[in-house]
């Protein structure tokens, strides 16, 4: 059991995207049930307050991240600027998150201003991506949110988006 713990720890640590139980099960050729059990051991281990990192679940996968309590000292030491999105970017992201797949024109119609630059920047930061093309005239690109988006807003998956009333 100890060895499985170690190899799973290594695999999750070495990935910058959440690693799913299925993926681990496939690579390690070990049943999903056993992986699940080992993940639980790992989760418990890092919950201990002598650890500064922990295993966090995102969209059905696991990732090591630092505990929230250390955020400000990390920012201090690494000079990490607090990343905050502008109002325009947040609104554009909200539209994409709730309406995906959505085209640029559809976004612009809602916000009433051009969206090209904001889309470019959001793409550059990996928060949104082109997820295909719409089957209408001109075949416009459609956008969706990424895993990075989930991470940025601490959402487990898209179903955790706050509920909004659309009375239509």
């Amino acid at each position: 059991m100890h060895d499985l713990c170690a190899v799973i720890e290594a695999l999750i640590f070495a990935s910058d995207e959440p690693v799913s139980i299925e993926e681990l099960s496939r690579v390690l050729e070990v049943s999903a049930a056993e992986i699940q059990k080992t993940i639980e051991i790992l989760e418990k281990r890092y919950q201990d307050e002598s650890h500064g990192i922990f295993l966090k679940e995102y969209s059905g996968g696991y990732l090591f991240v630092t505990k929230p309590g250390y955020s400000s000292i990390i920012k201090d030491m690494h000079n990490k600027k607090v990343s905050r999105l502008s109002q325009a970017a947040l609104e554009t992201l909200a539209i994409i998150a709730y309406k995906q797949p959505v085209t640029r024109v559809e976004i612009e119609e809602i916000r009433g201003v051009k969206a090209e630059k904001t889309l470019l920047t959001l793409t550059k930061y990996g928060l949104i991506e082109e997820i295909g093309r719409k089957d209408t005239i001109g075949n416009p690109i459609v956008y969706g949110t990424t895993e990075e988006f989930l991470k940025h807003f601490d959402l487990r998956d898209l179903s955790n988006l706050p509920h909004i009333e659309e009375d239509e």
């Binding site: 600027k81 947040l90 201003v113 630059k117 991470k151 807003f153």
Partner: protein, 243 residues
């Protein structure tokens, strides 16, 4: 998570309208929008520097607001059965939808606060496996070309921020060219020389710029509001006469 974001973007006319709704603590409906039309127009007039693209956006919404205002001022005719069942004005609908996403974005902002508490370092697979790495990249030349274009695009975007200052000067001149006050003076001037009245078409003759036409129209509405002129139209879509 841990990276810098510097995003901006002008908050357009819908945002201005939304702020006015909030400020006046009113509901989003035709009647309440009509009540803030003046404030919206005042806001536009207070803008000394504005990008031309945005200016026309602002003007289009101004025109829609005027339309709503006129609709609410006109006496309601109680007839015409089916036709009378009108939908909400599209501006009301848009603003309602805008409000929904505005609220969603405010919730996301709270989530962002939480999300940025977790840190992860930029991982490089080379850190974990030996020196030689075979890559099996799912990429083709199109991706490569696109990446280059993307890099150049954002480079240019950064550079244009620098150039924008000079551009603003130019835009300032442009917008001052077509201020509502000037158009009002112009219309009054023209009317002095035309005791029989003028048609709207005559006033916008030789004015191909859409913005100028809209401003002229707004100027006429303003003059009518101040009772300085009278507007006549025989039937819908026929010529508009002013005297």
């Amino acid at each position: 998570m841990s990276y810098e974001l510097q995003l901006d973007g002008f908050q357009g006319p819908l945002e201005v309208l939304y702020q006015l709704v909030k400020k006046n603590k009113i509901e989003i409906s035709e009647i309440s929008l009509a009540s803030i039309t003046e404030q919206y127009l005042e806001y536009i007039e207070s803008l000394s520097v504005i990008n031309l693209d945005l200016a026309s956006e602002f003007m289009i919404i101004a025109a829609e607001l005027m339309e709503i205002k006129i609709r609410t001022l006109l006496p309601k005719e109680e007839k015409k059965g089916e036709e009378e069942i009108e939908d909400e004005h599209s501006l009301v609908k848009r603003l309602k939808e805008y409000e929904i996403f505005k609220k969603a974005s405010m919730i996301l902002q709270e989530y962002e606060e939480k999300g940025t508490m977790f840190h992860q370092r930029a991982l490089d697979i080379g850190d974990f496996i030996g020196e030689e790495i075979e890559v099996n990249l799912d990429l083709d030349l199109i991706d490569l070309k696109k990446a280059f274009m993307d890099a150049l695009k954002s480079y240019r975007a950064m550079k244009t921020v620098k150039d924008q200052k000079e551009e603003k000067e130019w835009k300032k001149l442009r917008i001052e060219d077509i201020r509502i006050e000037d158009r009002i003076d112009y219309i009054l001037d023209k009317l002095k020389d035309a005791p029989a009245g003028l048609s709207f078409a005559e006033l916008i003759m030789n004015r191909e710029n859409r913005l100028e036409i809209i401003v002229t129209f707004l100027a006429i509405l303003e003059l009518a509001r101040l009772s300085r002129i009278r507007i006549k139209q025989d039937k819908v879509f026929s010529k508009i006469f002013i005297d």
